[in-house]
Amino acid sequence: MIENRPFTRFLTHFVLICGVIAVALPIWITFVAATHDELRMNQAPLPLLPGSYLWQNLKQTLFGEGLSGTEQAPVWLMLLNSLAMAMLISTGKIAISLLSAFAIVYFKFPFRMTCFWMIFITLMLPVEVRILPTFEVVANLGMLNSYWGLSIPLIASATATFMFRQVFLTVPDEMLESARIDGAGPMRFFFDILLPLSRTNIAALFVILFIFGWNQYLWPLLITTDTSMTTIVMSIKQMLEAAEQSPQWNIIMTTALLAMIPPVFVVISMQKLFVQGLTETDK
């Protein structure tokens, strides 16, 4: 639909600008807060223009003692923990759901559809619902305070399995038949043909899952007691309460800013594949 009347043009732009402001303003404030010193951040009104302390704040947050008066892990370690967790979750989810979708679409085994629906039902069981039994299992397996404990309970993914199933269903049957005539076995077909064909879908899913993993809050909070295993997202919340004095907004906001960088980097670097993967249907 093409609208050309001045009023509707104004209206659409107005709505868009409001949306941009609603999203961008908090980020701007975070950025501004990260560029002032502690003193200025505790005065009213809040500054709306950047100050000159960004470099110092960054240095103190990343490599200095961080938040003064607490026993937090250094921020670089928390970033690393978050990165490890997000990578494990996203690659693990993709690997497992690719294989299970492959099994469901291309193999005829008894109770195939039962398996599919069982996977599908797990959509109703996110980690928050099954938190006690899952914690019990992870604790018994001795995986508390480890990367495995952080990631494995979150790895099974019905959404991703379902998505790959749909992707595989769009691959023409002749592709499989032609590979069979060429002498490719099932795994060879999977790696040589299916994987390259679902490349963009994998990338799109990776972006979504990486952010999902990066933003995990409740589960890391439960199973990490050792400060050397804390992730950046949960630590931001703790920073607010941890200090005995008033919150050090400049450091907290710098941490928040740092926590935003990896997801933003992933989104921007994979943007093209991401859009292709979610929109293109032609194989």
């Binding site: 023409p172 002749e174 592709m175 038949e177 032609s178 590979a179 069979r180 005539i181 060429d182 002498g183 490719a184 060879r188 040589d192 043909i193 390259p196 064909l197 490349r199 194989k283």
Partner: protein, 351 residues
């Protein structure tokens, strides 16, 4: 290069039998076309030979080997699919080389074969392109190249030309025929297009409803169709069928016209006559009331009905001719060009 024997071959999906007792013996180097309307089981039969469908009963032999239980890759066949089934993420070269790579041929041998096939098909300049950068005809060549490099005993074609436009189809049809004659590989080709079937095949297997209606050379099928189905399917425009009666050594049409034939039997029959065998003759016994005239340039088609009946009748007259709608045109039909069929069994009655 090999002979193919199909012995008492059937295919069932659950309780439904879709192919019934197919028999066929294909000579070494022969080009066989399986032709029939959609849903007749022709693709299923081809896919059974390829090993993509299981065999319910009967036997398929390629050369000396029984191949019923063999994987497609072990049958020494190559197949060209209707939508080409090229791997979209691989270059033309990689597409053609993929099967050879899996068979662990040396890189030098793979290159030699791919380039040789590319030269035969004149696609050498496209070797490094992706399939989506090629036109339909070029993709078709790549698909054939992929079959050629395997150097198989049998080529299988599953309606390979149906995605091409009409002009290209005619051109590729000739190329496939030339290529097959040059390579001398036994080939089975599936199509629903009877013109394609007639021009390509050494022999045609006409399938209908899972039964082989007739298996013979194009000329045999044209001259002596074994059933009403084959008679109507082969030849364009389609053969005319008129209800008639054999009486006293001649055929009597429903409007009383008598055509003498040498037949001792007396029975109700279906008389078949091809439009091109109706010869215009002022004194001819068969009168056609023209309803529509189709000018094709080289010949003219007259569509109408047999005088005094509502039976559709089509005649083909050489050259340009002008006729008025509603006009009566008289034709004669030589007895040797008539086909008689049993209206019950629809099979051919010998004169």
């Amino acid at each position: 290069m090999a002979e193919i024997h199909l012995t008492d071959l059937t295919k069932s999906y659950g309780p439904t039998e879709v192919l019934h007792h197919i028999e066929g013996h294909i000579q070494d180097g022969e080009f066989i076309v399986i032709v029939g309307p959609s849903g007749c089981g022709k693709s299923t039969l081809l896919r059974m030979v390829a090993g993509l469908e299981t065999v319910s009963s009967g036997e398929i032999r390629i050369g000396e080997r029984r191949v019923n239980e063999l994987e497609p890759s072990e049958r020494d066949i190559a197949m060209v699919f209707q939508n080409y089934a090229l791997y979209p993420h691989m270059s033309v070269r990689a597409n053609m080389a993929y099967g050879l790579k899996i068979r662990k041929l040396s890189q030098a041998e793979i290159n030699r074969r791919v380039e040789e096939a590319a030269d035969i098909l004149e696609i050498r300049q496209y070797l490094d392109r992706k399939p989506r950068q090629l036109s339909g005809g070029q993709r078709q060549r790549v698909a054939m190249g992929r079959a050629i490099v395997r150097d198989p005993q049998v080529f299988l074609f599953d309606e390979p030309l149906s995605n091409l436009d009409a002009k290209l189809r005619v051109q590729m049809r000739l190329e496939i025929r030339k290529l097959q004659q040059r390579l001398g590989v036994t080939s089975i080709y599936v199509t629903h297009d009877q013109v394609e079937a007639m021009t390509l095949g050494d022999r045609l297997m006409v399938l209908n409803g899972g039964y082989v209606e007739q298996f013979g050379t194009p000329i045999e099928l044209y001259d002596r169709p074994a059933s009403i189905f084959v008679a109507g399917f082969i030849g364009s425009p389609a053969m005319n069928f008129l209800p008639a009666e054999v009486k006293d050594g001649s055929v009597v049409l429903s409007n009383g016209v008598i055509i003498p034939v040498e037949s001792p039997k007396e029975a109700n029959v279906t008389l078949g006559i091809r439009p091109e065998h109706l010869q215009p003759e002022p004194e001819g016994a068969i009168a056609l009331q023209v309803e529509m005239v189709e000018q094709l340039g080289a010949n003219t088609l007259l569509h109408g009905t047999l005088q005094g009946t509502d039976k559709a009748l089509t005649a083909s007259v050489a050259g340009h001719a002008t006729y008025e709608n509603g006009e009566f045109v008289n034709f004669s039909a030589p007895a040797s060009m008539l086909h008689l069929f049993d209206p019950e069994t629809e099979s051919r009655l010998e004169l």
